[in-house]
């Protein structure tokens, strides 16, 4: 990836789609990280991300149950 593309995402030019995306709340450094990967690596990264979210959800559910049972015993 050349410097021009790196700059495009890291310092979005005024009026560019990147500037609008950043204003919308997109973290373009993540997009840039993805663009440095091969397509298959991008899918593997996405998979890791989804697995991480699933783990967090499971932990939150477990902690919620623990809090609930603690509340019942008090």
């Amino acid at each position: 990836m050349n410097r021009e593309i790196e700059d495009y995402f890291l310092n979005p030019p005024p009026g560019s789609a990147a500037e609008r995306a950043a204003a919308f709340g997109i973290d373009l450094t993540l997009t840039l990280q993805n663009l440095r990967l091969t397509p298959e690596e991008r899918i593997r990264k996405l998979d890791d991300h989804i697995a991480g979210i699933a783990k967090m959800k499971a932990t939150a559910k477990f902690l919620g149950r623990t809090e609930e049972s603690r509340g019942r015993t008090q």
């Binding site: 593309i5 560019s16 789609a17 609008r20 997109i26 993805n34 663009l35 397509p39 298959e40």
Partner: protein, 173 residues
Amino acid sequence: MAELSESLIFVIEKQSKLLGRFGVECVIVGGVAAALHGAAIPTTDIDVCYARDQKNLERLATALQSVHARLRNAPEGLPFILDAETLKRGLNFTFVTDIGNLDLLGEVRGVGTYEHVVPGSSVVELFGYQFKVIAVGKLIDAKRAAGRPKDLIAIPELEAIQEAQTLQNIKPE
């Protein structure tokens, strides 16, 4: 393809290999196409747009039979013969298979049929097979046409990727 009981990578790998092994003419569209282009928004939606010529329908039907595909959310006992003729009579199908859910689109809303989706697509290698991936511009059109919040929030990042691609022809391969 969506709603994954197995990991996303497992489903994509198995389904890519299935479609590749049977030589099914198709284009990856939807959220996974966005990820292949570099978008960071998480997705578990894997959708494929397939060619509807007779030969491809036969290849697709054979591929689907090999993984015991059946219609998802169809009433129990609904008669369904999985062959090229049935695929020809329908358009968009949601299947459950031995290797996960598989969504097959005969037409992508906002873009059109396979013949409309293919021009401008990129070719990527996944798990040893080459696949076409819908062009970012057409993916944006599809997301806009779908119009759901989860589609619309993907557009700003895709537009940035599209603009970057025009700056230096970044393709997903």
